[in-house]
Amino acid sequence: MSAVHKLAPRAASRADGLAHQRIATAVMIAFFALAPLVAYPVFLMKVMCFALFACAFNLLIGYGGLLSFGHAMFLGTAGYASAHAAKVWGFPPEFAILFGTACSALLGLVTGLLAIRRQGIYFAMITLALAQMVYFFYLQAPFTGGEDGIQAVPRGKLFGVLELDGVWAMYSLVFAVFVGGFLLIHRTVHSPFGQVLKAIRENEPRALSLGYDVNRYKLLAYVLSATLAGLAGATKVLVFELASLTDVHWTMSGEVVLMVLLGGLGTVFGPVVGALIIISMENYLAQIGSWVTVVQGVIFVICVLTFRRGVIGELGRLIRKPL
């Protein structure tokens, strides 16, 4: 079993020191703080939402060794829940986001209890099937508006004072959510909890024999990942003022896998770079519409066959430091 090449490359040991990662984090934060001066802010907000989504997914695969093929259900659930809360119940944005995130966390708990009963390929198939069930639920449920989705979701006033209708106020909120989520994941990975997760990924029977309740750790990682994916989904809905079926469809689950694979599985910054590349690509390829799927498929194949470390993984190998 140990001879099998693991899907995610070994993460850095703590002794490596984190100085270069701190620098890279600072560069990334500075990038997203300054980029709206030159780039279209709505595009950047989309990138940040998907980057957080991808980071949440990466927490599960990169540190838990669990490949979820159904993460769209968390993105979409939080989206629908917060859109409904903001539009129908009139929640202020901060509570709408919290409510949506909580719904995804709950869904993560329920589906996690089922999915972590199997590993590897089965885990991927089960999460995909559960997500498809959730998709059909939203397709039929009356409050989601079916194919139309929930449109014209009000952004409202943050904490009752800050109007989010302006692009800069919204950008600041998305920026804060993204950086907060990113740092939380960073903290989790380097905590004792994260170390146990890595131990389970490397050798589950051994972790079990050392007395760790393996399934509880996996479930916790799964729920945390679902929660952060939900946070991304709820924020995204406020940005676009729209919750739709696209966010719960399996193509979205595939897209986040692609982002993380392209950026680098199990790397800290890979998901962010992967999201940036994929979202930019979709923006530029928008004119040729349906070819996007084909291009995504080609990137999948190339990544799996020749580029398994991803952009950041290769970069990290070049400078001989884990990124």
């Binding site: 090449h5 089965y122 498929g297 990137i299």
Partner: protein, 294 residues
């Protein structure tokens, strides 16, 4: 006549549709199980290959004037051959890596194939005519049975049982089962295991294409006809467990029937019932009904 307040016509009609769906679940999950047994790969391209089978039949008819019966032979061979090329060129490079890479690769291939067909033929679906010999139907007294549907059920049962027989009862099947258990040892006995892997993948893909040709007159030929179907088949595979060939056949037909019954008694849940059963099975017997945990 009524059963539980449901007209028997409607009940048996839905049961028939359930059996038809079950035939396709059984053929597709059987192909997945055969491939998984030897390659340890979940073939995400399976749905796309099912669609390619249907399109192959459509091309044969419109471009070459070759009808349904020959398509039933040629399409599985052609699509199976394409599958073997994919296995040699791509999948063969991944056997030493984590099995999840196989899943990711075949997912990418499915996106490419479905995307290309969709760009060319849209998503509206192209009708494929019923073979003349099987048009019409017969009245069984309690329901009307179209001949073609009876043929689909019969043919898929025969193909499934023949596959089961070939794997469980013949010498070739014994090699296959031995290679599933321990490929190195089988290779040491002088059997060309890599070639066997290629042929097995080709056979599993051919089963999907065969199902595709049979589906063409019923569901029309549509670039996305396999995209959602494959997810249901994954759930079927999880429910049955992939340890047993007979298990995947039985589970396929049974779930088709259950889905048909759900359409009669509680139509709102007919899309989700298989996933709900999957959740229940995972709670009671995580390895699947016929599976062994490994």
């Amino acid at each position: 006549m009524e059963v539980f307040g449901i007209p028997t016509q409607a009940l048996f009609g839905q049961l028939l549709i359930g059996l038809i769906n079950g035939s396709f679940y059984a053929l597709l999950s059987l192909g997945l199980a055969v491939i998984f047994g030897l390659l340890n790969i979940i073939n995400f391209t399976h749905g796309a290959q099912y669609m390619m089978g249907a399109f192959c039949a459509y091309f044969l008819l419109t471009k070459l004037g070759i009808g349904y019966w020959w398509a039933l032979v040629i399409a599985p061979l052609a699509v199976g051959f394409v599958g073997m090329v994919i296995e040699r060129l791509m999948l063969a490079r991944l056997y030493k890596l984590d099995h999840l890479y196989g899943l990711l690769l075949t997912f990418g291939l499915a996106l490419i194939i479905q995307g290309l067909f969709r760009n060319e033929y849209g998503t509206s679906g192209i009708p494929y005519p019923l073979p003349q010999e099987l048009s019409g139907g017969r009245n069984l007294g309690f329901m009307f049975l179209p001949n073609y549907r009876a043929w689909v059920i019969l043919a898929s049962i025969v193909v499934c049982l023949a596959t089961w027989f070939a794997i469980e009862k013949t010498r070739l099947g014994a090699y296959l089962r031995a290679a599933t258990e321990n490929p190195e040892l089988v290779q040491a006995f002088g059997i060309n295991v890599p070639r066997m892997i290629t042929l097995t993948y080709g056979f599993g893909v051919a089963l999907a294409a065969f199902a595709g040709v049979m589906a063409a007159p019923i569901y029309q030929v549509n670039p996305l006809m396999g995209a959602d179907l494959i997810i249901v088949v994954f759930a079927v595979v999880v429910i049955g467990g992939m340890g047993s060939i007979m298990g995947s056949i039985v589970t396929g037909f049974a779930l088709g029937l259950i889905e048909g019954l759900t359409k009669v008694f509680y139509p709102e849940a007919s899309n989700t019932v298989i996933f709900i059963i999957m959740a229940i099975v995972l709670m009671i017997k995580p390895a699947g009904l016929f599976g062994t945990q490994r």
